[in-house]
């Protein structure tokens, strides 16, 4: 039974969490709006937030196919990265030899500028959706691989020993100890990955595409529709935030134990310090 006071406190904590950033964003937008009006800045140089909002609203039917395209590329790319990242991470954990062979290659793959690979992908795979999916996957698989491998490696060997005394197979210890224990790390990797994924799709589109937020952005720049450039930036941010939020929801649902436990530990640390 949640009594009123606890409920109010819970809502209060939520509010403390949400209100400050919201307030800050609102204040900055107001400042922007005021500055544009005060200094009479030309719209092609810097449109006001209200102008951007109006332009975006008016261009709704135009925007929708672009947003949908970018969303598809991002989600498909991210899902491929997830599958490849998890499998590679598991493979690396399984065999020291694979680790030694793959790890340097992985780091190397991250030093190649994506903007240099993207045109190659177009040459190899054409102008369709595939090269964009590959760019997104390339950008977000790295943190997933590394965090999966590190998370699996960080397993407490005594937990594995306990299961072995019960007669566990390697499969048992992997499924019942290593994997669940690694999940918090895996999710951190996923969150880093998904943050970059939309930007990856847009880079892919810049190099050559018929549709997508990136394409819209390029066209807007070419025709000096600064308001539309800002609209695409806002859409990119909104899409990234939405995907990040979805991952966070899944994480909270699956890792409730982890969050509650770490919070409790923090709390105990604080009480220790006070004493």
């Amino acid at each position: 039974m949640a009594d009123r006071a606890t409920l109010r406190r819970a809502i209060g904590t939520r509010a403390n969490w949400v209100l400050p950033p919201l307030g800050l964003i609102l204040a900055l937008l107001l400042l922007w709006q005021a500055a544009v009006a005060l200094f009479e800045i030309q719209p092609w140089l810097l449109p006001s937030p209200l102008q951007i909002l109006r332009a975006g609203w008016a261009a709704r039917p135009l925007l929708w196919p672009h947003v949908w395209q970018t969303t598809q590329e991002t989600v498909l790319g991210f899902l491929s990265a997830l599958v490849i990242g998890l499998s590679l991470g598991i493979l690396i954990d399984r065999s020291p030899r694979v680790r030694a062979a793959i790890y340097p290659l992985l780091v190397f793959s991250q030093t190649i500028p994506i903007i240099a690979i993207a045109p190659l992908l177009i040459i190899w795979f054409g102008y369709g959706i595939l090269p964009k999916i590959i760019v997104v996957a390339l950008i977000c698989f790295f943190p997933i691989v590394v965090n999966t491998a590190d998370g699996l490696r960080a397993t407490d060997p005594e937990q594995i020993a306990l299961l072995r005394t019960m007669g566990a197979t390697r499969r048992d210890t992997f499924l019942k100890v290593q994997m669940p224990g690694a999940m918090p790390m895996v999710f951190s990797g996923i969150k880093v990955g998904i943050t970059y994924s939309v930007v990856g799709a847009i880079i892919g589109e810049w190099v050559g595409a018929a549709r997508g937020i990136g394409v819209f952005m390029l066209r807007a720049t070419a025709s000096f529709r600064t308001d539309w450039v800002f609209v695409s930036i806002a859409l990119t941010a909104a899409l990234s935030l939405t995907l990040f939020g979805l991952v966070t929801v899944v994480e909270r649902l699956t890792l409730g134990w982890h969050y509650a436990a770490t919070r409790q530990e923090r709390w105990e640390e604080i009480s220790e310090e006070k004493r």
Partner: protein
């Protein structure tokens, strides 16, 4: 001694490589445990008691010597001996009930029956109503009891307990000690128990092995002639005091 011992170690030695140095943990250990016997290993911290349990459980193999299970030195021991490690090792992502059912789950026993039995035993372990709690929500004593229940639910004939009361404060420890006596009387399994608390050892055990500091070897073996069932009141029994003083002398702890 009626039958052959269920666990028998002969001339067991074990060393570890630590940073290129060789640390001799155990030297020439010979010990046994009969069926339904309560045997305690006592010794100073770092003398190799946990290592001995790891060897008996089959997690480690001895460098020299052998360990026979039911008279067979080549028998597989993993999966046939219940082990409660020194740290409780409750899995933080599992609720209490799922934690204590880990053994039957790994051994692929009938889930319904195991669950039924676990639920029956929860009150005896003071865990009733906490089935759905995560380990971090439990007190130290409850975690220890949960770990013990998980161990007993593996339902093997031999049970290894590594300082099950070690992490508790003195008061909880005393209550848990009485309770542990009760548990043992009830389950009647072969217990190999590790502690560095002399009173605890004497009160609970049929037989005690006293270990020297590292490299651990057995410096004394004692039978405890106290009758069963044991009780806290026996701590003033002359047999109790005699055994206690003998162990304290061996450990070099007499007269402070």
């Amino acid at each position: 001694m009626d039958a052959a011992p269920i666990i028998a170690a002969r001339g067991v030695s074990k060393a570890f490589q630590v940073d290129g140095r060789v640390v001799q943990a155990l030297r020439d250990i010979s010990m046994y445990a009969n069926e339904r016997e309560f045997v305690t290993l006592i010794g100073p911290s770092g003398c190799g008691k946990s290592t001995m349990l790891n060897l008996i459980a089959g997690l480690l193999e001895p460098d020299e010597g052998e360990i026979a299970f039911r008279g067979n030195a080549r028998a597989r021991r993993l999966g046939r001996i219940s082990y409660m490690p020194q740290r409780d090792m409750l899995l933080p992502w599992r609720r209490l009930l799922d934690n204590i059912l880990l053994g039957p789950e790994i051994m692929r026993r009938d889930r319904r029956a195991a669950r039924q039995r676990a639920l029956e035993l929860l009150p005896l372990f003071g865990l009733e109503g906490f089935e759905d709690s995560y380990p971090f929500e439990l007190s130290g004593g409850m975690r220890q009891r949960a770990a013990l229940l998980r161990t007993l639910l593996c339902e093997q004939e031999v049970v290894l307990l590594d300082e099950p009361l070690g992490a508790l404060d003195a008061l909880t420890r005393r209550t848990m000690r009485d309770w542990l006596i009760e548990i043992w009387e009830r389950f009647q399994q072969t217990m190999i128990f590790v502690t560095h608390d002399v009173d605890e050892a004497v009160l609970l055990s049929d037989r005690i092995y006293v270990f020297s500091p590292r490299p651990g070897h057995i410096i004394r073996e004692l039978e405890i002639p106290l009758p069963r069932p044991r009780s806290e009141a026996m701590i003033i029994d002359p047999a109790f005091l005699g055994a206690r003083d003998a162990i304290l002398a061996e450990l070099g702890l007499d007269h402070g």
